[in-house]
């Protein structure tokens, strides 16, 4: 069972890494908006991007 003395500390290192990664993700805004990205997949299509709006358009 002595392998456990190695595996558990390894597990703790992984735990620390994943918590660090999660903190990074939250602080860089990855979780601020969980709604629009889901919508984007429906709205964006594979066609070429729309032509750029001309600089002066008469609206």
């Amino acid at each position: 069972m002595s392998i456990i003395y190695l595996l558990i500390p390894l597990g703790l290192v992984l735990l620390a890494l994943s918590i660090w990664a999660f903190f990074w993700a939250v602080r860089s805004g990855q979780f601020d908006d969980l709604e629009s990205p889901g919508m984007q997949i429906l709205l964006d299509d594979d066609r070429a991007p729309p032509p750029r709006a001309p600089e002066s358009r008469d609206v």
Binding site: I8, E35, P49, R52
Partner: protein, 820 residues
């Protein structure tokens, strides 16, 4: 609702006047209501973003045809205030966007702007209604960005640059981090705990047991110190206020379990309870996180202050006059106000005389005369004269800020039933602490080794969390559900009142009717002029009027060559077209301007319509009969409210004949005509004194005080800003029928709150004896308590999922109810 019927605008969902404009969408011709909506829809479609219309949840508000001038934001001072310059020369700015309701709107704005020049980064968050963007000032100016958002039919306003996320986002992030730490920690500690339990049963090396305990301690420490910190803080602050809050037993049990386990670990004997403490923390945080998300989603962005201030103001410095934003004003500065401008700050008139619309504060639409040394209040409207004022209070000190703080407090107010739950909880907590102490004393004598785990189990199992989550979770879920169906709730209390209302008073114009007048008939009185010419003249003149009836002419092509228009609010407009002076408006106003009025006997106002006259300086040229149609679902809504036990009544300021006709058309419901605002108020108070709970539905223009007096008030969209802030609930869509769903949802909400409270009490009553008898281990107690809290939250979530009975009034047969 009946959006498929082509009688509403494709862009904003407003009802259409005849001869409306059209846009082409995917080869199909769609009608739009006005030039503004036509331009916005054209812009959206022209950029290939037409899919927006398939995915949006609500129609947009009416797009305004007249572009506003934003160049004020391009000045150096404004740039410094609103934007932040990066090293590479790009600038960063945050915009608050009004009318942003769903992710599709956010997508639309993002994509439309991203493809334009000069914008390097943009993100629009639909939950906080904010756009964060970076742009290259050499290629695009801030004013152009604002103009582009505006052209899509939204209105945007830059926020003073603060840097970092908004308070709202920060709260969300912290809650998520705490939850994550607790979640990761719980997974680990549970693994170790299972090993320890197995070891206790089948034997374990003492050194391994020791090791597992130390590792558990290591992992549990951040959970208790970081994740559970809000519970300790809240318990401490309630203790300092000499109250027993919900969090006192929570903090006590987490703290005690942790400290006891630390002692046991260090001393190397006794049982550890890291698993219980960590699991308890995680599930409590989970319940609160769900509740917070619901609350954020349903929260109205109350920003009345900024919305009511003008975009720009003319500041006088010595001889120099300069346009600045209201944010830049300081006390003591002088400002010149032109007719029609909003007052930017509190102040005193230095010179000039004018009439001021103070309906914002008083609810009275009649203008007040103000002259030198009179006070002016920010957000009111200068109607007629040019005045100079000296600013006395700005920003957070102004009256408007005080008013909006009051509104915020009202929005934060909790329903009566939540307060009762809190009061009950305080007693409950006291009882729990006494009980735990009693149980502890008993077990110390009976079996000292069992004393601590039993006390811990009692503390954990009786945690009144389910009790404290019962109401807010249901409230947040109901608010979210209603927001989806087009009802915005601005006060929590309102839903409870809505569920209990038993009388419904309706205003007529703009509420039961569309408030969208239509031209029914043109009578030309002078043989020398064609009806086409009369209509063109009328359209030209009415384009300078703010009166609701003027909208009947909005779709017509106005005659060219108009000059010198000036209006008398509520009476009419006078202007020159090709050198001839014309007047349009009320009968007496037009006749005043005529030298020899023709006999008008055959033009007497008829019962259901209003008439507008057009005349020149010698005679009356034409009479327009204008009608206002009933909303399509008015009759059905009233009938369904009746079946729900809310007896509807019409209270209107209109003429008796017109009101009677409408009441008959709606199915002979009770109606009172010629009611002034004070008469309506008396009616509401009379009903309240006879023990009725009154729901008042209005458009909010003349009835703001009445809305405020009713137990619960609903304003119909398209009402003024004032109505939006003074009513408890705002109807966003074009129909009234969401109201029926609102009443049903609010009643279901009360029902669910009662179920939740009953469940929480029942669970505690059953679990406490078991725990006190020592039959429950602390981890079982933590699990039971957590499941009970989650059950309460999930029960509240049913409000989101189950479809409220479709609004056909006939009782639906059992079994077919929830098929939708």
């Amino acid at each position: 609702m009946d959006a498929s019927v082509a009688s509403v605008c494709f862009h904003c969902g407003n009802p259409l006047a005849d001869g409306a404009l059209k846009v082409w969408v995917a080869g199909i011709e769609r009608p739009v209501c006005c030039a503004g909506c036509e331009a916005a829809a054209g812009l959206i479609l022209g950029q290939g973003l037409g899919r927006f219309y398939e995915f949006r949840r609500q129609p947009l508000s009416v797009a305004h045809a007249t572009p506003r001038n934003w160049s004020i934001y391009d000045r150096e001072a404004a740039q410094r205030r609103y934007t932040h310059e990066h090293a590479d020369g790009e600038r960063e700015v945050s915009l608050q966007i009004e009318d942003l309701h769903c992710a599709a709107c956010a997508w639309l704005i993002e994509n439309s702007l991203r493809h334009g020049p000069g914008i390097t980064q943009i993100h629009v968050n639909p939950i906080s209604a904010r756009a964060e963007l970076r742009f290259q000032p050499r290629r695009i100016a801030l004013s152009q960005i604002l103009g582009r958002v505006h052209a899509l039919g939204f209105s945007a306003r830059p926020l003073s640059f603060a840097g970092g996320p908004s308070a709202f986002t920060a709260e969300r992030r912290t809650a998520l981090l705490r939850l994550a730490v607790a979640g990761f920690g719980m997974m680990q500690v549970m693994t170790y705990a299972v090993s320890l339990y197995m070891g206790a049963l089948s034997g374990i090396q003492p050194s391994l047991e020791h090791f597992l305990r130390f590792v558990s301690l290591l992992v549990a420490t951040p959970v208790v110190l970081y994740s559970a910190q809000p519970f300790f803080a809240s318990a401490w602050s309630s203790l300092r206020a000499a109250r027993l809050g919900m969090d006192v037993p929570v903090a006590l049990s987490i703290g005690a379990a942790y400290l006891w386990s630390v002692c046991c670990t260090v001393r190397g004997r006794g049982t550890v309870y890291f698993d219980s403490a960590v699991m308890f923390t995680f599930f409590l945080l989970l319940g609160r996180y769900i509740e917070m998300s619901l609350r954020h989603r349903s929260g109205l962005q109350h920003d009345a202050l900024a919305r009511l201030l003008p975009d720009s103001v003319l500041r006088l410095q010595g001889e120099r006059a300069e346009r600045v934003t209201p944010d830049e004003l300081r006390a003591g500065e002088r400002v010149r106000l032109l007719p029609g401008e909003r007052v930017p700050a509190d102040g005193v008139i230095v010179s000039g005389r004018t009439e001021v619309d103070e309906s914002l504060l008083t609810g009275e639409s009649a203008a007040r005369v103000r002259s030198q040394d009179d006070d002016l209040i920010a957000g009111t409207v200068n109607l007629t004269g040019v005045i100079e004022m000296r600013v006395s209070r700005v920003g957070q000190d102004s009256t408007l800020a005080a008013v909006s703080r009051l509104l915020e407090r009202a929005a934060a107010s909790r329903p009566h039933i939540a307060e009762v739950a809190d009061r009950v909880a305080a007693w409950f907590v006291g009882a729990v602490l006494l009980l735990a102490a009693g149980v502890g004393l008993y077990w110390l004598h009976a079996d000292a080794a069992r004393a601590f785990p039993t006390v811990l189990a009692v503390l954990v199992v009786t945690c009144p969390c389910a009790l404290s989550l019962a109401t807010p979770a249901a409230l947040a879920a109901a608010t979210t559900r209603l927001a989806r169906s087009g009802l915005l709730v601005s006060r929590g209390e309102a839903l409870e009142q809505l569920a209990r209302a038993d009388r419904a008073l309706f205003d007529k114009t703009g509420t039961l009717t569309r408030g969208n007048p239509q031209l029914a008939e043109v009578k030309v009185c002078d043989p020398g002029i064609s009806s086409t010419r009369c209509l063109a003249l009328a359209a030209a003149l009415e384009s300078h009027s703010e009166h609701p009836l003027a909208r009947a002419f909005a779709h017509l092509t106005p005659a060219a060559g108009l000059s010198g228009a000036h209006g008398e609010p509520g009476r009419g407009v006078e202007a020159c077209v090709d050198g001839v002076r014309y007047r349009i408006g009320r009968r007496d106003y037009v006749l005043e301007g005529c030298a020899s009025p023709a006999p008008l006997a055959d033009l007497a106002a008829d019962d259901t319509a209003s008439s507008v006259l057009l005349g020149d300086s010698s005679r009356v040229l034409a009479v327009f009969r204008i009608t206002d149609t009933l909303r399509a679902d008015a009759q059905a809504t009233l009938r369904q409210l009746q079946t729900l036990g809310l007896a509807p009544q019409i209270v209107s300021g209109d003429r008796p004949a017109a009101v009677a006709a409408i009441a008959h058309e709606l199915g002979d419901i009770a109606a009172s005509a010629q009611m002034t605002a004070s008469a309506k108020l008396a009616r509401v108070q009379g009903l309240q004194q006879s023990g009725r709970r009154v729901l008042m539905v209005g458009d909010g223009v003349n009835d703001a005080p009445v809305l405020a007096a009713a137990d619960v008030s609903v304003a119909v969209a398209g009402g003024t800003d004032l109505a939006k802030v003074s009513a408890d609930i705002v109807l966003l869509g074009e129909g009234l029928n969401a109201l029926v769903g609102g009443v049903e949802t609010s009643r279901r909400m009360l029902q669910i709150i009662r179920q939740n409270l009953a469940w929480a009490l029942l669970y505690n009553a059953a679990a406490v004896p078991l725990a006190a008898a020592g039959w429950l281990e602390p981890w079982m107690a933590a699990l039971g308590m957590s499941l009970s809290s989650l059950r309460v939250v999930l029960n509240a979530l049913r409000l989101l999922k189950v479809d409220v009975r479709p609004a056909s009034a006939a009782p639906v047969q059992a079994g077919t109810v929830l098929r939708a």
